[in-house]
Symmetry: C2
Subunit: 588 residues, 2 copies
């Protein structure tokens, strides 16, 4: 085995440093040489459109993550640039996302932005390592039902977290139940104007969202006039940039009120102008009581979130790649590496963790993005906003940002998957609903672990209890025999069970027993031991036991224990001959 | 799904209360009606022989468990009686065993006999519940390599725990490393006479053990004279009762010395005479500082040991049943129920946890036991010992008991499995050696959990990464196509991987793709989603995708999502027709 490990490490190292790998690991080398004017136009339009979406969203998601709004903007430019070099999927807009912001909030436990920046760095390292070590299969253990349950719960928790800003009250708590408890306690302090503005914003955004589906003119593209096309494009642009437009409008309203004294609703307030300084992430931090929290203390705050957050970030990112891959294979390893590097880079400009954002990737795709270079314009727009516009952000109402978030995440509640799930496999509802409920009752990370655990137990149970077909058949020459067919692999948790079943039926019927091993692709030491005992039992009972279609690799494993009387055959024609010659069983 | 759960519960309840089940759950109703004189003789001889072994062993194992010697005797009679009613395996001698004693020691953490008695009760309840709920498959997750690693480590730890008594020093510690550390610290206090006596006892026991293999006279049984037979029987009896004989001899020596003043070696000391009182196990206990430890505090001391101890007790018990089943099926559920009931009963007479003892079962079997009634005589002998002989146990030297244990467990180190394991499947050495080392480095229960975890991870990895055969074939009419054959089930952790592989090869070759689903016995919602995406991708690329030999149950799952263009065929003959009619692919 040590030699196998060494060979594995060698193969991995060789693979990693080859020229082909280098090209694969720097996808920009694949698309940049063929870059043309059309690509440039597509990327520019899409990049700017995404920029108009990301600025209000990143301000808003900061509040989901529980840290001041500027940190959202800090996380929306450098990562975009890094992704251009390493990203393998043109539609991924790197930056703060709803899911990762909520996970950041629950992992950082309100300890402030320094903790979030360190989490961004460490999460990036975990993602990078997962990519380099080929641990992508871990993500596959988050099944469809668990992902749906988790996403739906995240949406509900985020909506809940924004209710306080819509109502204009103060509330706290990190889980769904805690938040609602806190909201209900302070419900009497509800501020009328915040509530009205928040609800109005949500209503306007939902209506504007419908505009994306509006098209005037004939259905056939070719029959439309230039006017039809212009109106359609304009309506679509307005609908797509709805967040930016609404924030601009409500910001102006806030400014107008502020000029005339205290506005009737709460504003997000002062945002430091300019770019963040470029500096390493904090590995220790001074606490409010003037003592220093070291690296270990900070990391221990994160707990299992330090592994779950990167895992779910990658899950979101890879889901985007798959959704927009149009049938091309997705290089999950490359995505892990690039998201990891983006987060590591981001942690040097004081960002909190981010990933590919599902909602903005749809905007990106619809705007006609052609390569990852679109991220360049998004990033530049964010830099412009940071340098020139931060003084104006002061006047954006909190209720408007809350509205932006609520209108964005409410469609993440996946009620629509319940019916197909019921139709395909009802038992898949158990991990789905289990995840959903535990994500709401506890922290999101616990809920996901619960869901994965339910799934893992069911896989293990399947490994331990194969279906076994037992049939009484007759050979061509008329000898009765029992055909036992396990439908999957014989590895240790199932062998004792299979042996018991074979013995039970074998003793009851008293005829030769054939085990059909067509579906058995592997075996281990435990199986070899059980098979060796079983063949001895059959010899003692003077009952023939034969193995049909046993793969040569498995025969080798069995023969390691030198079992007595292991009889294997591969063609039905041989059965009668073997029964007669080896066991003296025949009919006249 | 709720209806499925209800149906399961109903089926279980119906099964549980049927007459047939009642007969199965009270195995005594099966053998007692046919009980005859030969059975009675066999059981009497075997029961008495086992009794002569269990008395010294149970005194010794108490010291392994870290509690006074009489508690071992308390655990060696009532359980035997209960097992007569419920036990399904004639060879199982219920009582303290090396493995369970060590686990008790590590779970109770030197908190005294009251904790051990409660553990006996709770462990029994866990065993009973595992039987009633059909959780037997949990035991199957302790694979052969893990069991070997664990047993070998237990033997080494037990030998280590007895070294102090052989050397006559005081030492403490609960793990292998701690114990040796402690022994080495006090090595200078070694007492000469204890050491000499202990080593002599071990040597004598190992020599007497060889006697079991000595036979005089001709090899052929029929040619032996009555004298030959008598000598052989006598030698065998002496060898088998070697523990009792040695303890009797050394006890007499101790008595002789005690009459003449202080003996040169340490004795086990006062044992309260008489039977234990019949009373419920303690659910709270008064601590040395006169405060009361309640039930919750006591249970929290046990930790995960409260689940691992019953699991490993059952593992030992069921291993015995399998070893002596002579090819008959073993009713694991019944064994869980009976061992559970025995331990629950034992906890009412102040016993610590026990199980079927592997070493005594060999004695039982060789002595010609015929039914579980042999336990009656064993139990009666222990009662006689408790009532009449406890004053004499005072004089047994500690070093002798330590010798008894060491000579018994040293053969549990399973060096002999390494070679066949290497021959059958080298990678199985990883969980084996992993378990062995972690059992020595940490507590046994942790080591077993580590081993099971290694195994579980490998099962999950196998579920996530099936082997996939990709072959370029030609149909009968000369159409090239790609045959993709996954060798195992398509469930969620593997679907994304399989899809990626199919897409990669499909895009590269550009010919029709056939997925051979012969080995796929089940699918879930995640798979259905991936398959539905995959068929759409292939339609978009205008490339035919066909499923060969897909089980009707799986087709149903896939169709729950109403995928476009799911083409399934079951006979090679149909391939050309389908390719031509559905996809217009044909050669001239």
């Amino acid at each position: 085995m040590p030699s196998e490990v060494a060979a594995w490490a060698k193969a991995r190292a060789r693979k990693f440093f080859s020229m082909k790998t280098l090209r694969r690991r720097l996808p920009i080398t694949q698309w940049l040489p063929h870059y043309n004017k059309e690509d440039a136009v597509g990327d520019l339009v899409a990049g700017v459109t995404v920029g108009l979406t990301v600025i209000p969203q990143s301000l808003a998601y900061s509040s989901v993550a529980g840290i001041p709004p500027q940190y959202g903007l800090y996380g929306s430019f450098l990562g975009c640039f890094v992704y251009i070099l390493f990203g393998s999927c043109k539609d991924v807009p790197m930056g703060p996302t709803a899911i990762v912001s909520l996970l950041t909030y629950q992992t950082v436990h309100d300890m402030g932005p320094q903790y979030a920046i360190l989490l961004c760095f460490l999460g990036g390292c975990v993602e990078l390592l997962m990519g380099l070590l080929g641990l992508g299969f871990l993500i596959d253990f988050v099944s469809g039902p668990v992902a749906s349950g988790f996403t739906s719960a995240v949406a509900l928790v985020i909506v809940t977290s924004q209710v306080k800003d819509v109502l204009g009250i103060s509330a706290s708590g990190s889980t769904f139940t805690e938040m609602w408890g806190s909201v209900i306690e302070s419900i009497t302090e509800t501020r009328l104007w915040d509530t009205l503005l928040g609800c109005a914003c949500i209503a306007v955004l939902l209506l504007m969202r419908l505009l994306t589906m509006v098209e005037i003119g004939p259905k056939d593209d070719e029959k439309r006039s230039a006017f039809h096309n212009f109106v359609n494009k304009a309506v679509w642009l307005v609908a797509t940039a709805r967040n930016a437009i609404l924030v601009l409008a409500c910001g102006s309203l806030g400014y107008w009120f502020a000029l005339r004294g205290e506005p009737p609703f709460r504003l997000i307030g002062y945002i430091p102008p300019g770019l963040p300084t470029f500096q390493p992430p904090p590995f220790s931090v001074i606490k409010p009581d003037n003592t220093t929290a070291g690296f270990v203390e900070m990391v221990s705050t994160f707990g299992s979130g330090m592994l779950v957050l990167p895992l779910l970030s990658l899950l979101e990112d890879i889901a985007i790649c798959k959704a927009f891959s149009s049938g091309k294979p997705v290089d999950a390893t490359q995505e892990m590496i690039s998201v990891g590097l983006c987060n590591i880079a981001n942690s040097f400009v004081q960002a909190f963790p981010g990933s590919g954002s599902l909602s903005r990737s749809a905007v990106n795709n619809c705007s006609g993005v052609r390569t990852p270079l679109g991220g360049l314009y998004t990033g530049l727009l964010v830099i412009v906003a940071l340098v020139f516009f931060t003084p104006y952000f002061y006047y954006i109402p909190k209720a408007t940002l809350a509205g932006v978030i609520i209108a964005a995440v409410v469609f993440m509640v996946e009620v629509r998957v319940v019916k197909p799930m019921w139709r395909t496999k009802k038992s898949d509802l158990i991990p789905g609903i289990g995840t959903f409920i535990s994500c709401l009752a506890f922290r999101i990370e616990i809920g996901v672990l619960v869901g994965v655990a339910i799934n893992v137990v069911s896989i293990l149970y399947q490994a331990a209890r194969p279906n076994i077909d037992v049939e009484k058949l007759t050979t061509r020459k008329g000898v009765d025999y029992l055909m036992v067919t396990p439908d999957r692999c014989l590895i240790f948790p199932s062998t004792a069970y299979v042996r018991n079943l074979v013995t039970k039926h074998g003793v009851k019927q008293g005829v030769p027993v054939v085990i059909d091993c067509s579906h058995i692709y592997g075996a281990d030491f435990t199986t070899a031991g059980v098979v060796s005992n079983m063949t001895e039992d059959f010899i003692r009972r003077d009952q023939p036991l034969l193995f049909f279609n046993l793969k040569p690799g498995v025969v080798e494993v069995f023969e390691g224990l030198q079992p007595k009387g292991l009889v294997v055959y591969y063609s039905e024609d041989d059965l009668d001959t073997i029964l007669k010659e080896r066991f003296g069983v025949a009919t006249v």
